[in-house]
Amino acid sequence: MTTVPYIPAPPREKTLDYLNHDYRLSSWLLTRDHKRIAILFMISITIMFFVGGIAATLIRLSLLSPDSWLLRSETYNKMFTIHGVIMVWFFLIPSVPNVLGNFFLPIMIGARDLAFPRLNLASWYLYMIGAVFTLMALILGGVDTGWTFYTPYSSSFSNTHVVMVVVGVFIAGFSTIMTAMNFIVTTHTMRCPGMTWFRLPLFVWGIYATSLIQILATPILAITLALLGVERIWRIGIFDPSVGGDPVLFQHMFWFYSHPAVYIMILPGMAVESELITCFSRKHPFGYVFIAFSSLAIAMLSFLVWAHHMFVAGMSIYAGMTFSLLSMMVAVPSAIKVFNWTATLYKGSVSLQTPMLYALGFIGLFTMGGLTGVMLATLAIDVHVHDTYFIIAHFHYIMVGGMVMAYLGGIHYWWPKMTGRMYNEWWGKLSAIIIFIGFNLTFFPQYILGYLGMPRRYHYYPPEFQFWNVLSSAGASILAVGYVLPLVYLLLSLRYGKRVGPNPWRATGLEWKTSSPPPEHNFEEIPVVTHEPYAYYLELPEMKEETQDE
C-alpha cells in the first residue's frame, strides 16, 4: 500500500471556496482571511527569492575567474550583502511560517482563523514596506557591509545606504513579531474541542517553537539596528573604538538575535519534514513526543550559543569556551529529530512522490550541514575556517539544502490543498532531482575551498582555487534551472492541473478533512478530535478487517 498521487474529484459544481468567493482586488488587499494572506506572502517572497537569486547568480558568475572580470570590488560587496539581506529576512524567515504556517496552522488546530486576523494583514503590509525600503536601497546604489552589518565599517566608514536597508529590515522585523504573536496565542487558545497539545500535528509544534524564537529574538535585532542607525547618523561612539566604544558589543547584540534567527530559518523546515516523512511512509512518527519537545529544546538552546560566531572577534577566551560547549549541546535536539525521521522511514511503506524526494534530500543535506556545524563549534577548527567558504558551505547546506528543500516539499505537498489542482508529477520529480544535483555540485566544492583557505566575501582569489570555483558555479547554473522549473509547472497547474478532492495524498490531519481549496471559514462546522494524530495504522489490512465486521 503506497501513497496514491491523487484521487480524481467527483464532477464539479461551482462551490465557493476562499479563492473564488470574491474576485475584487480590495477583497484581497483588505482580507482578514489567513489563507489569502498566505497567498499574498507566497507571491511576495517568491519575487524576493528571485531578486536574491539574481544577486547570487552575479556572485557565482564573477567567481568563475580569479580576477574581477565581471564586477568591481564595490559592486561585488554590494551583491553578497543584498543576497544575504534579502534571502535571510525577506525569503527564509517568512517562507514556511508566513506561507504554510499562515495557511495551515488554524486549519490544523480546527479553528476558523488566527486569533488576530487584522494583525496578520498588518504583518503582510509591514513586510511589503520593509521590502520596498530594501529594494530602494538596492536601486539607489546598494549596501556593501555584508548582511551582518559589522561595525565599525557599517557605522563609521561605509559610504552606502546602510540606514535605508537597516530601516527596511527593522520594519520587516516587526512583521515577524506580529506573526509570531499571532501564532503563539492562536495555538494556546483556539484549538478545537478534543485537540490537546499531544494530538497536534508536529507541524504545529514546529511553527510554535519558531514563533517563540521570533517573538523573543527579533526585538533585540530592532534595537541593535536602531543603535546602528543612531551611531551612523550621529556618531555617538558606542561602537567606535577611537572614542572608547566596542565594536564587539555590536556583534554580541547582533548575534544574540541572528543566531536564534538561523533556527527560525530551519525549525519550520523541520516542521514540514515531519509531515512529509509520516505521510509518505504511511506511518506514525517515531517518538512523537521527542520530536515535539526537541523543537522546544532547539528554541530554548538557540539563545545560549550566539557568540560562536565571534570566536575570533576579540572576545575573551573563557567566553569562547563556554559558547563552544553550549554550541555542541544545541546539536543534540536536531540530531534527535534526524534519528526519529529515519526511524519513521524504517519499515514504513515509502513512496517516492515529489514531496518525499524533497524530504529525503532534506534529511541527508541537513545532516551534513549540521555535522559541519558541530565541527565549527570546536574552537580549534573554527579558528582555522572562520570567514572562509567552509562556513558558507555549512550554512547553505542547512538553509538551502535543508530549509529551501523543505519549503519546496511543503509547497508541493500542500499545493493541491491550497489550489485544488495537482501539478505534473514527472516535472516535479525532475525538478527535485535537478535541485539535489545542482545543490551538491554548488556547495560541496565550497567545503573544500574553505578547508583549503579561500576566504569568504572576496571577489578575487589565488588561481589554484579556480577549479573548485568553476565547479561551484556550474552547479549553481543547474540549481537555477531547478528553481525556475517549479515556478513554471506550478503556475501551469493552476490552469491545466487535474482537480483534486479533499485528500489526494490520503494523509491524516484536519486540513485534509476539508475541501480543496478550503471554504472561506475553513470548516462547515468546527471539528471535534477524538483520536491521536498520524493514525495511519487504521488503514492496515488487520484494522480494515476489524472495522468491516461492524
Binding site: 564587539v248 544574540f256 539563545f303 576579540g314 575573551s316 573563557y318 567566553a319 563556554t322 559558547f323
Partner: protein, 122 residues
Amino acid sequence: MSEQVHPKRLYLINYLVLLALLALTVGMSYVDFGRGYNNTIAIGIGFIKAILIMLFFMHIWYEPSLMWVFAATGFFFLGIMLVLTMSDYLTRNHPPGMSPKGEPVFLTPDKPRNAIPYSFPK
C-alpha cells in the same frame, strides 16, 4: 480572566509600598555603601517594585499560570543575554599568562592572541 472586583485598598497599599521603596532608593543614593553595592541594591529594589506592579497592578497574582509564564519569559531570556554577554566582558582585559583575577596561569601564550595589540584607552 478574573472578573472579580478587588477592593480599592489593594491598589492603595501597593501604591504606598511603591512610594516607600522609591523614597528608600533616593535616600540611599546619598549614603555610600561602598563600591558597587549602592547601584546593585537600587536596581534590586527596582526589581521588587516591578514585581509588585506586575503582580497587583497588572493582576498577574490572580491570573492563570499561563500568564505568569508569558510575563516571566521576557525577563528570563533578557537575563540570559545579560549574563552571557557579561561573561565575555568580565573575563577580558587581563594580561596574557594571568587569569581574570590576576593570578598566574601555567598556559602562557607565546604571542599575543590578537594580531593587532589592542588596549583600551585610559
